[in-house]
């Protein structure tokens, strides 16, 4: 997608700013690529047929958001968005480790025993974090980031409303399942709301206003939501940090599947 404009051109000519914008975009792009991929792995397996439609739609939108973010990186680096999404090594990936985890035990094609409560909890955490980032992004000095923030925020409302509906259903009818899903997510989730040391630069440059405050905003919002459902929120264990390129083997597996066709002939026109 071609979204080049003056603002991106200005960013392109300012190395420090360019670096920050790209780092921020890696996080949101790689997050959405992974969650979108995992969403699609529910196709044909979701709890009922309408849920199949819903998760298919949500996953398609997540991948669409990723395409948009990669397109902005393309405008800054000249690298092809498809290559950025499909050919980068795992150590270059900046998605949260939580989002690369499989949907549960087994494999999509061979004997899947996926975990719906974990899936919903993870998606909800992702939705709240991305919406927190996008809300801040609407105030970015970078025109294209502000525009993407405004537009994508509107779409994320639907995703979040959907996960919240499921959370309330689980809390009311199967709280143990929800608690277990949450426990599983908490093993991986510590890097989700984490910009690391660049938070201050993101704020001071105006690329992402309030960046250092966002992790606490996110944590408060999530804590309140679970408190309201009388569900205990476990401590999110610090471990591998995907924002620094540390990942589990699950990421390599996902990327192998995702890029299988593309790698056959990266120059092919579809």
């Amino acid at each position: 997608m071609n979204t080049t404009s003056l603002a991106i051109d200005r960013v392109k000519r300012t190395p420090a700013l360019r670096h920050l914008v790209i780092e921020l975009l890696w996080q949101v792009a790689d997050d959405d690529l992974m969650i979108g991929f995992r969403d699609q792995e529910w196709l044909g397996l979701a709890p009922h047929i309408e849920e199949d439609v819903a998760f298919g739609s949500i996953g398609q939108e997540e991948l669409g958001h990723a395409v948009h973010y990669y397109g902005l990186i393309e405008a800054l680096t000249g690298d092809r968005a498809d290559d950025l999404a499909l050919l980068r090594e795992t150590s270059a990936r900046r998605n949260a480790v939580l989002l690369e985890q499989p949907n549960g035990a087994g494999d999509y094609l061979h004997d899947p025993h996926f975990n719906w409560a974990f899936t919903i909890v993870r998606h909800y955490l992702h939705d709240v974090w991305e919406m927190t980032v996008l809300t801040a992004m609407t105030g970015s000095v970078v025109e294209e980031l502000a525009q993407a923030g405004t537009k994508i925020l509107g779409e994320k409302r639907y995703h979040r409303a959907h996960q919240e509906l499921w959370l309330r259903l689980l809390a009311a009818h199967n709280p143990q399942q929800l608690q277990d899903g949450l426990a599983l997510a908490s093993q991986w989730g510590a890097d989700l709301a984490d910009f690391g040391p660049m938070a201050i630069d993101l704020q001071q440059s105006g690329v992402l206003p309030d960046a250092p405050l966002l992790p606490k905003q996110f944590a408060d919002e999530v804590t309140d939501a679970f408190k309201e459902m009388s569900i205990d929120l476990p401590i999110f264990q610090p471990g591998l940090n995907g924002r620094q390129g540390q990942h589990t083997a699950a990421l390599g597996g996902a990327l192998t599947t995702l890029s299988e066709v593309y790698r056959l002939d990266p120059g092919a026109r579809w």
Partner: protein, 160 residues
Amino acid sequence: MGLMQKSDGRATVESVYECISHVCDPEIPTVSIVDLGMVEKVTVTDRQIVVVLIPTFVGCPAQPIIARDVRQTLAAQYADYAIEVRFALTVAWTSARITEAGRQALQACGIAPPGRAFGDVACPVCHDTKPVLHNLFGSTSCRSLYYCRQCRNPFEAFKP
């Protein structure tokens, strides 16, 4: 496009709008992209026509098809112009951009036009105003699925 007059092949902003008002979203073939509010800006200079489109949803897979159709339609009408068509997010599309004609065309093909909030929807068949939201997500990103308890038809509605 055979019925449209070629005039002298000169483009104006108005004539370009007229020309591309015949392009439809492939997923809603009865509603033009102009009536859907997807045309953000048309610029015409001596030798160039630039059309900026905005997506209903960022991940809408119809975008390359719509851009291609707009490009081909303009190229057929204005042979002497360089034509640039692109999607941008310079303005965020919302369902409020759908024109009155667009709302009627949606209704005519059985898709309820958008209301002001979730569930603010009337059945496109019997106009009952208390349908049940069956699935927030539908066959495309821009639609939800409802069920009418009055006439017992399932139907799709544009998301608000």
